[in-house]
């Protein structure tokens, strides 16, 4: 069972040392560039020219490739089969039985796969190199609500515990004779005995948690100070503004192209 954990891989690299805000802005710039610039191969060039080299520099190239492969491959297979063969009208390239591979569908599939690859790998680059608590710390400094920061960090801590509880419940119900394999009907009937105990047991400590966070000043108003200092290179704030300008320029260019056509 896939466990939710932070994807973060600890390394001592220039990318890891960047302020999380700088990496977040870079992710935004990558997404805007890939989604707004025209061209069949734009997203592949972004992946090969920017995302992959940066991940290699961060020492997480292998992790990025293997995660991206696992996520993008099923998409790619689906999109090539469905759009390649089932494109309504178009120029047929190859005939296989009653079906034919259309060139328009194929081109659409190439563009879509590139887009999925770019979206998935730029998110992966960010989460492979950024610790969740560092991200929340730097977001809080620029006025991100502390309640939301609590929600994100707490989820990343709680989810793996619930997931291992799910495995325990699955094993326990099987040991008591619940059939979870076989026909569709058998598997559908396993639904309630698995899901309801999991949800109910997850709700047990909600009240105690509420008392615990209140006792630690959760609703305290006013400014807060930070325990951990955030170091960043001198160029980073200017770099972030440049990237924001870059995003605006790309969106502007796209609007100009669309209007002038």
């Amino acid at each position: 069972m896939a466990q939710l954990n932070s994807l973060f891989v600890a390394r001592d690299s220039p990318i890891h040392r960047l302020n999380p805000l700088t990496k977040l802005t870079l992710t935004g710039l990558l997404l805007v560039t890939g989604l707004f610039l025209p061209g069949v191969l734009t997203n592949y060039l972004l992946f090969l020219g920017v995302i992959l080299p940066l991940s290699a520099l961060a020492g997480v190239g292998r992790q990025l490739l293997s995660s991206a492969w696992k996520i993008v491959l099923p998409f790619a297979i689906s999109v090539f089969l469905i759009q390649g063969f089932l494109w309504p009208q178009g120029t047929p390239l190859v005939y296989i039985g009653p079906l034919s591979l259309k060139s328009e569908g194929l081109q659409f599939a190439v563009v879509s796969t590139g887009r999925i690859l770019m979206i998935v790998s730029s998110f992966l680059l960010f989460s492979l190199t950024t610790r969740p608590d560092h991200l929340m710390n730097s977001l809080s400094r620029i006025g991100f609500p502390s309640n939301l920061a609590y929600v994100i960090v707490a989820t990343i801590q709680i989810a793996p515990r619930f997931q291992s509880r799910a495995v325990t419940i699955l094993d326990a119900q099987r040991a008591r004779g619940l059939e979870t394999e076989g026909s569709l009907r058998t598997r559908a009937r396993a639904l309630a005995p698995l899901v309801i105990p999991l949800v109910l047991s997850s709700l047990i400590d909600v009240e105690e948690r509420a008392l615990a966070v209140e006792a630690r000043g959760f609703n305290r108003q006013g400014t807060r100070t930070f325990l951990v200092e955030q170091a960043e290179a001198a160029w980073e704030p200017a770099g972030r503004w440049l990237m924001v300008l870059g995003m605006a320029a790309i969106i502007g260019l796209r609007v100009y192209l669309a209007v002038s056509r």
């Binding site: 954990n5 998409f75 999109v79 469905i82 707490a154 989810a159 619930f162 949800v199 959760f218």
Partner: protein
């Protein structure tokens, strides 16, 4: 504004991460146990919408997909965060309108939410991901594509074939869970009173 503040009490803020973890744990459990026809990855979102209110449900749905993506479990889910938010919002609204008090109204509310969810996710699948999701449900999309529907229509019809059932089961499970929880626990939440069956008077708690 005051309505918004009244939804976000401490217990709501504590409930949201628990709810997102429920989404993730039940979603992966259903996937691992190969339970057919449903995903059930929004039970927590619906639970918050029902217990805490529509705006809290909206926030839970939005954050759920964002965290699901950031954690690396599946970054491809991130762009669907609006769909998650809409599900939580409607769960809260239906509960406020009293639809979570009987089992058949809960099923109906879930089915309607499913239609809305299908309408919200179809454009994302069609325009961002080239009309596929990389899951088994792509077979349904392929069927509609082969009948000559364009991407957006085929994705919406695929959603209509899957989402209303999934959300109806989700809402029914939340209805059952709300029945199994102690009244004292439910009363701690901002909108717990929306769940009380008509025959139970508030004073008997």
């Amino acid at each position: 504004m005051s309505r918004l503040r009244e939804e976000f009490t401490t217990i709501t803020w504590v409930m949201i991460p628990v709810a997102i973890a429920i989404n993730i744990a039940v979603g992966t459990l259903v996937y691992t146990a190969k339970i057919p026809f449903v995903y059930l990855d929004s039970i927590g979102t619906v639970l918050v919408g029902v217990l805490c209110g529509p705006w809290a449900g909206l926030l839970t749905g939005l954050l759920s997909n964002l965290i699901w993506g950031y954690s690396g479990l599946n970054p491809a889910y991130t762009p669907y965060f609006l769909v998650g938010g809409v599900i939580g919002l409607f769960a809260g609204l239906f509960s406020r309108w009293g639809w979570m008090r009987t089992w058949w109204q809960a099923i109906l509310a879930g089915a309607i939410t499913g239609v809305i969810a299908a309408a919200c996710s179809a454009p994302i699948t069609a325009y961002l991901y080239g009309g596929v999701t990389g899951a088994g449900t792509d077979m349904i999309t392929a069927f509609f594509r082969s009948m000559g529907f364009e991407n957006l229509a085929a994705n919406f019809l695929q959603g209509l074939a899957v989402d209303p059932l999934d959300k109806a089961v989700t809402f029914l499970i939340v209805f059952l869970i709300a029945r199994l929880l102690p009244l004292r626990f439910i009363a701690r939440f901002p909108h717990g009173e929306d769940l009380r069956p008509a025959e139970v008077s508030p004073a008997t708690d």
